[in-house]
Every structure is written in structure tokens, then in C-alpha cells.
């Protein structure tokens, strides 16, 4: 029993990382209805920017908003320069571009900051709770994720621009017909996704160390969380992220063949299972349509 509780808490703690990433994934999916494979790399790059600013001696609480702002602008710029020219190109072209972006950002980070791992500070201190089961940083990270989620919920539910973004994502043609400037809402979606990704990266870096490949497996878990919870539901994605963390930990502990090595395939298996049996995810809203 004690072992089970231990594993649950550890799972939730790691799940916080995935939840954070899943939230960023869903955010961009809401804006463009594509899964962005380069999202993890964008977050990693933002984290390097933060690291560089810290190296230059700026205080943590100045670096955080600065990085978020830079990332927001960077996300908008990527949309403008790389995504917008694609226009209505088929989905495969988008995927090709995402993979290209992935490679470019990854090598660029390696080129500028090299591939040695770098420690990244936590604003929440070094200690831990519950007899070392969960670190202060993990608790802080979960807290921040929930705050960001709340912020997003309020933004999309109660602001005019949030409603415009939802409308534009759902039906761009109709959105134009009510005067929504769809190009701007899409750019805004990219900016917000990059900003949220940067928060995720900064929160994840103290746990996994900073290096250009830090996001590889995390993005996969983030996708798994987002798909499990439902791509149309930010709250579902966060729940999905936690659930993935817990499932991964329990499977690693209680299913002997899984161990540590097979944890990643479990995420893949989950993605496939959910897509086959419940494509909208646990909390995603199926779009009901009558004609």
C-alpha cells in the first residue's frame, strides 16, 4: 500500500512535466488544428534563452517575463515567416515543415549553446516534501501549471479575443464573414503556445537538465497526455498529462517486463489506444452537428 501511494505521488510529480507540455500542445492545436512536432524544440530553445539571460546576470524574476515575451514574439515570427506562406497546403506539407523546424531549432540550439548538459535553477528551492517523494520544485511546477490553466480558461471563456480565437480555429471561413481577422488570431495562437511552451521548458529544465535534446521524450508524453485528455480541452490535457505520469510509474513498478526501458512505448501505446477507441479523448467535446 505504501509503495502504491509512493508511486502515485511520484507519478503525479513527473506527470506535472507532461501536463505542462500537454497544455502547450493543446494550445496550439486550438489555434491551428495541427499537432506541432517542433513544439518541444521551441520550448527547449526558449529555455536556453532564459539560461543565457541568467548567465548574463539578470535576476530570475526578470528573466521569466522576459523569456515569455521573447518566446511570444518568436512564436508569432515563426507563424509569419514559415507557417503562413503554407496557406491551405495539405496536412503532409505542414508535417514536413514541422519536422524541418524541429531539426533547425535543435541544431541551432546545439550550435549556439553546444550539447553539454547544463544545470538550470529552480525558483522553489532545493528541499522536498513527504519524506523526499516530491521535491519543492515539482510542487511549484504543478502549481504554476494549474495557474496557467486557470488563466487560459478565463481567457478563452470570457474575453472577446478568446472567443474570436475559438471561432477562427473552428471555422475560418465563417470567422472571416463576421469580420474576425483570422491571420491575427492564428499568429496570436502561435505566440501564446510558444509563451506557454517557454514556461513549460523553464519548469522542466531543473528536473532533466538543459540540453538540446531535453524535450524529445517529454514532447511524446505531452502528446500522449493531450490526446488522452482530448485535444479540444486544455483541462483534459492537463489531467491527461498527470494520468500519463501515474500510468507510466505504476506500469514501470508493477508490470515486471516494463521496467524503466519500456516506459516510452507505453506512452505510444496509450496514444494509439485512445485514438482508436475514443478519438476525442476523455474530456474532448465531440462536435455534434445536425444538418
Amino acid at each position: 500500500m505504501e509503495l502504491l501511494i509512493q508511486q502515485l505521488v511520484t507519478g503525479i510529480a513527473t506527470g506535472g512535466i507532461y501536463a505542462c507540455m500537454a497544455l502547450a500542445v493543446v494550445m496550439i492545436y486550438q489555434a491551428i488544428h495541427h499537432l506541432n512536432f517542433s513544439q518541444g524544440e521551441m520550448a527547449m530553445f526558449s529555455t536556453f534563452v532564459a539560461w543565457q539571460l541568467l548567465q548574463w546576470g539578470l535576476p530570475y524574476w526578470a528573466v521569466l517575463p522576459l523569456t515569455v515575451a521573447v518566446s511570444f514574439a518568436g512564436g508569432m515570427a515563426i507563424e509569419r515567416l514559415v507557417i503562413r506562406p503554407l496557406g491551405q497546403a495539405p496536412i503532409l506539407s505542414h508535417i514536413a515543415v514541422f519536422i524541418g523546424l524541429f531539426a533547425v531549432i535543435n541544431s541551432l540550439a546545439g550550435f549556439i549553446w553546444d550539447f553539454t548538459i547544463k544545470p538550470f535553477p529552480s525558483p522553489f528551492g532545493e528541499g522536498s516534501q513527504l519524506g523526499g517523494l516530491i521535491s519543492n520544485h515539482q510542487i511549484g511546477m504543478i502549481g504554476v501549471t494549474l495557474v496557467v490553466l486557470l488563466f487560459l480558461y478565463l481567457f478563452f471563456r470570457y474575453t472577446r479575443i478568446g472567443l474570436a480565437m475559438r471561432a477562427a480555429a473552428e471555422n475560418p471561413a465563417s470567422a472571416r464573414l463576421v469580420g474576425i481577422r483570422v491571420g491575427r488570431t492564428v499568429a496570436l495562437g502561435w505566440g501564446m503556445a510558444a509563451a506557454i511552451g517557454s514556461i513549460a521548458g523553464i519548469l522542466i529544465a531543473p528536473l532533466v537538465f538543459l540540453e538540446p535534446n531535453m524535450m524529445l521524450s517529454i514532447l511524446l508524453y505531452g502528446f500522449a497526455g493531450a490526446v488522452l485528455g482530448g485535444l479540444s480541452s486544455p483541462a483534459g490535457a492537463v489531467f491527461g498529462g498527470f494520468a500519463i505520469g501515474v500510468i507510466e510509474n505504476l506500469a514501470g513498478t508493477y508490470i515486471p517486463v516494463v521496467g524503466d526501458e519500456l516506459k516510452l512505448p507505453i506512452a505510444l501505446l496509450l496514444i494509439v489506444t485512445v485514438l482508436v477507441f475514443k478519438p476525442t479523448g476523455l474530456f474532448g467535446r465531440p462536435v455534434v452537428q445536425r444538418v
Binding site: 472567443l163 470567422a175 469580420g179 455534434v288 445536425r290
Partner: protein, 237 residues
């Protein structure tokens, strides 16, 4: 008085496929104009061209300014609301959120809440369904929602693409009665595209008839209604 909308020599095509071959028509300030024609004649294409949704050439003069070639979002902002073919419902949003979307182009935010109530006044059924996901509304309710959403713009001109399509006759009669009143009381000029010619001619002051992308007849609704060839081909008596 110069017309609200004056269209001359309007051409439009989908890729290499030319659909409109130089249309001339006008919509007056206020009142109802109807554009009639068989399935595939180019009615929807005409409305799409007016809103800059497809490639076109020619002159589209709205309130004295040529708007041909401007992006859709900007044309809407001039006060042209388009109720598109298929209604264009935001199915995942609630009915009320759909209405609020209709006011996206407006800058007088303070007046929007009152206008939502005004639309509910026209369509009480929408008020009952305000929190419901719009995709779950019936066809008639979605058509009301699309018209309500267009009214939220406080448009000067409203383009309606086959508002009767797929609806039961009783609902259609109700809808057209409301449209007539809306046009009069809100001072909105209506341009209605219909396959159901009898219905549209009852409502309209002026009518145009297009066949395969060419304007073949225009006149007052009464003249068109009394024309022998129109009777035979479109009214069926």
C-alpha cells in the same frame, strides 16, 4: 438616390473554371432585392465574390467606394453581413457565443449586450437555447442563429444565401415573415438568393434572374412574377 450597392461587369471563377460572365445589378437603400436562378446558375458565387471570398473582377461599389479586391474581413467591417450557404454555424460554440461572434467587427462594445437581447426578441427560440452547443440546434434554429448573428453586425446590407434551404414550409413562412419585418424595422437592405422563386418574389421589391452566370432579366418583383417564361421555368404555373 444612388443605390447602396452597384455591381458592374462582375466576373468570377474557380481556378480556370469561369462561373460569372459580367453581371450588372444594384441593391437599393433599404428594401428587398432577390437574385433568382436554377441550381448551379452562380448565385452563391455572386455572393461570395461580393464578400471577397473568391477571385473576381469588375466593379463592386458600396456606398460610393469600390470594394472589389478587398479582404473579406474588411468588407464585413463596412457593414455587409453574409448569411452563407449552409449557414456557417460555429457548431462547437454555444448559440449565444455565435451571436457574440457576429459583433466581432464592432467597436461599440457597450451596445452589444442589448443587441443580443434584440435578436432574442426576433427569435425567442434562440433565447431558450442560448447555452446549448449550436451544432445541436435544428436546421431552422441554425438558420435563425445565422440571421441573428448577421444582425449583430448592425449591417447596412445583409446577403442571404437560400435561407429556406432544407426547412419545413411552416418554418420557412415564419422565417420570411421575420425577415420582412427585420428589413423594415432595422433599416437593413436585403439581398436574398433563392431557388424558391415564388417565395422570394413575394418578399422582394426588385428581382434579377441569372442563368449560367449571365443576367437574363431584371425588373420589379411584380414584373418578373408576371413574365410568361419565368412562370413556366421557375414558378411552375
Amino acid at each position: 438616390m444612388s443605390p447602396l450597392l452597384q455591381v458592374s461587369d462582375l466576373h468570377a471563377s474557380y481556378g480556370d473554371f469561369r462561373v460569372l460572365h459580367g453581371l450588372d445589378f444594384a441593391v437599393g437603400q433599404g428594401g428587398v432585392t432577390t437574385l433568382l436562378g436554377a441550381n448551379g446558375a452562380g448565385k452563391t458565387t455572386t455572393l461570395r465574390a461580393l464578400c471577397g471570398m473568391i477571385r473576381h473582377s469588375g466593379r463592386i461599389v458600396f456606398e460610393g467606394a469600390d470594394i472589389a479586391g478587398r479582404p473579406t474581413e474588411e468588407i464585413v467591417r463596412l457593414g455587409i453581413a453574409h448569411v452563407p450557404e449552409g449557414r456557417g454555424t460555429f457548431t462547437g460554440l454555444t448559440a449565444e457565443e455565435n451571436l457574440l461572434c457576429g459583433a466581432m467587427a464592432r467597436s461599440d462594445r457597450g451596445a452589444i449586450a442589448a443587441d443580443v437581447e434584440r435578436v432574442y426578441g426576433w427569435f425567442p427560440r434562440l433565447k431558450e437555447r442560448r447555452r446549448q452547443q449550436a451544432g445541436t440546434l435544428s436546421g431552422g434554429e441554425q438558420q435563425m442563429l445565422a440571421i441573428g448573428r448577421a444582425l449583430m453586425l448592425r449591417p447596412k446590407l445583409m446577403l442571404l444565401d437560400e435561407p429556406s434551404f432544407g426547412l419545413a414550409p411552416l418554418i420557412v413562412a415564419e422565417l420570411f415573415e421575420i425577415l420582412r419585418k427585420v428589413g423594415e424595422e432595422e433599416g437593413v437592405a436585403l439581398l436574398i438568393v433563392e431557388q424558391n422563386a415564388a417565395l422570394a418574389l413575394e418578399l422582394a421589391d426588385r428581382a434579377y434572374l441569372i442563368e449560367t452566370g449571365c443576367m437574363v432579366m431584371s425588373g420589379s418583383a411584380a414584373e418578373i412574377r408576371d413574365d410568361e417564361s419565368v412562370r413556366a421555368a421557375y414558378l411552375g404555373y
